[in-house]
């Protein structure tokens, strides 16, 4: 219902806006016709369904892949202006096996679903965690990475189990993260100290305001490796989430090809090689098997 209303509102506003624009003189229509020119060019590239099938992608010779351009080490741009990172390493392989060129599109966390739903990219490979809500909007392929929660604590008093937490001890979390939701739901007795921003939580933890800090395990592992004197006592807590490539809902040919590809390259331990090439510096060898998912399993 709500979704419908939003769509109607958007359409109505858009219509009013465009109407106003077209009615307010030839000026705006100059801009519109300029836009119309580009529209004709690209219209044949996208099929009516809002996505491109596997054959259409192969025929065009280019695949559009949405990646992060500022989330090191998953997707970033190196000093020579080349895309790099764990997700990009996989994207390169996709391009090679499909025999097409890759056009990287720089995405933000907030517009990943929009990009797929409008068919402006063919695949999103941007550290995209699989959730039920998202699975209703886009189609996820087989996963290629694990994420879970992790808990980091000072080396002098390592927290290895949440049952060890004393009645007066507090755990630091960032508001709105899965760590907060998970702990509130499953460990209602543990006291939480909530901070709005990453930097605040980090400072509070370093000052010893809490006995431990719970966050995504990739974050806490990176923290413990970058800062002396901290250990990740619980590297994987709660529900295992996974990270997977996503395609536009209904794009079965591309989805099937991706699933086959992930299984095939899994046989040669591709994602372990990917980890060693891109994530080893940040996370170290000991977390390789915790984080990497090979062949979708």
């Amino acid at each position: 219902m709500k979704n419908n209303l939003v769509k109607k509102l958007t359409a109505a506003t858009l219509a009013t806006g465009l109407l106003a624009a077209s009615l307010t003189g030839c000026g705006s229509s100059a801009a519109t016709s300029e836009v119309a020119g580009t529209e004709e060019k690209t219209v044949e590239a996208s099929s009516n369904a809002g996505y491109r099938t596997l054959d259409e992608i192969k025929e065009s010779g280019t695949i559009n892949i949405g990646v992060f351009s500022d989330k090191s080490p998953f997707g970033y741009v190196d000093e020579n202006g080349e895309y790099a990172g764990y997700d990009v390493y996989f994207a390169e392989r996709i391009g090679k096996d499909l025999g097409v060129d890759i056009n990287y599109v720089s995405t933000e966390a907030a517009n990943r679903i929009e990009y797929l739903q409008t068919g402006k990219v063919d695949i999103i490979l941007a550290n995209f965690t699989v959730t039920e809500e998202r699975a209703q909007e886009v189609d996820f392929a087989l996963p290629y990475m694990n994420v879970a929660l992790g808990v980091v604590s000072p080396e002098s008093a390592v927290v290895e189990s949440l049952d060890d937490i004393g009645a007066d001890d507090e755990i630091i979390v960032i508001s709105g993260t899965t760590a907060e939701t998970y702990l509130t739901k499953n460990y209602p007795d543990i006291k939480l100290q909530k901070y709005d921003a990453y930097a605040e939580a980090k400072t509070a933890f370093e000052n010893g305001n809490g006995v431990a800090w719970a966050n995504d395990n990739t974050e806490v592992i990176a923290f413990s490796l970058e800062n002396e004197g901290y250990t990740v006592g619980i590297p994987s807590l709660g529900d295992q989430d996974t990270i997977a490539p996503a395609v536009t809902k209904g794009n079965e040919t591309l989805l099937k090809w991706l699933n086959d590809e992930i299984e095939t390259i899994g046989a040669e331990n591709f994602f372990h090689a990917d980890y060693e090439a891109t994530l080893l510096d940040t996370y170290g060898a000991e977390y390789e098997d915790t984080l990497v998912l090979e062949g979708g399993k």
């Binding site: 529209e39 690209t42 000093e79 020579n80 202006g81 933000e108 739903q117 970058e226």
Partner: protein, 224 residues
């Protein structure tokens, strides 16, 4: 200098990329500003015309632009048109469209205000001299309007240049985005790079906006 992290800008092609990003920002904003000035003059004149339906339409247009954050407009034009009409506009054309759409409305309102501030006697004298409406506007009213407009429109123009940083949300890599990419790629080697890189980005925006404001001062003096 090391602690500020400015050195990361000299790694590889980083600085060149930053300048390319700056060019993207300048290109989008200059095209939009140029279109907005021309169209804004037109809309502004139409806003002063005594015609109720026309006034209502222009009012709706202006209010739409005022109420909607540019971010929302960008999403509606770039993603919304594809969803609703199946158009596939390029990100750059969407950005230019949105910025022109915005600039024209605000510029139009500034023009309307400036025309209203020209004393009525100027119109009456022009008509008394036998000029028709077009001549009156072209030779009497617009030259005075434009002089009044300069300080007002400079605010709008520099604001448009700075707001181009939003286009990163529709996948255009402009100067601020390149800055973020550089900072993030060097997060481990120089954690303080954010300060140095943002300082340089600030300087780049300044280098673009300052000549515009100097030009405005010059024109204002010359035409005074």
């Amino acid at each position: 200098m090391d602690s500020l992290g400015i050195d990361v800008l000299f790694k590889g092609t980083n600085f060149l990329r930053l300048l390319q990003g700056l060019w993207v920002s300048i290109e989008i904003s200059l095209i939009s500003v140029a279109l907005s000035i021309v169209l804004g003059l037109l809309i502004g004149i139409l806003m002063t015309v005594d015609n109720k339906p026309l006034k209502a339409i222009l009012k709706v247009y202006l209010e739409t632009v005022r109420i909607m954050p540019q971010m929302v407009l960008l999403f509606i034009v770039y993603f919304g048109t594809t969803r609703v009409f199946g158009w596939d506009m390029s990100a750059e054309s969407s950005a230019i469209f949105v910025f022109t759409f915005w600039g024209t409305a605000e510029m139009g309102d500034l023009v309307r205000g400036s025309i209203k501030s020209v004393p009525k006697i100027q119109f009456e004298s022009a008509f008394a001299l036998g000029m028709d409406k077009i001549q009156t506007y072209l030779y009497i009213i617009l030259p005075q309007t434009i002089r009044r407009l300069i300080p007002l429109s400079i605010n709008l123009i520099t604001r448009m240049i700075k707001t181009t940083s939003l286009v990163m949300m529709i996948g255009i890599v402009e100067v601020l985005k390149v800055g973020q990419q550089i900072i993030e790629a060097n997060r481990k080697v120089s954690p303080n790079a954010a300060f140095g890189v943002f300082a340089v980005v600030f300087l780049l925006y300044f280098i673009v906006c300052w000549p515009i404001s100097r030009l405005a001062t010059y024109l204002e003096k010359r035409w005074a």
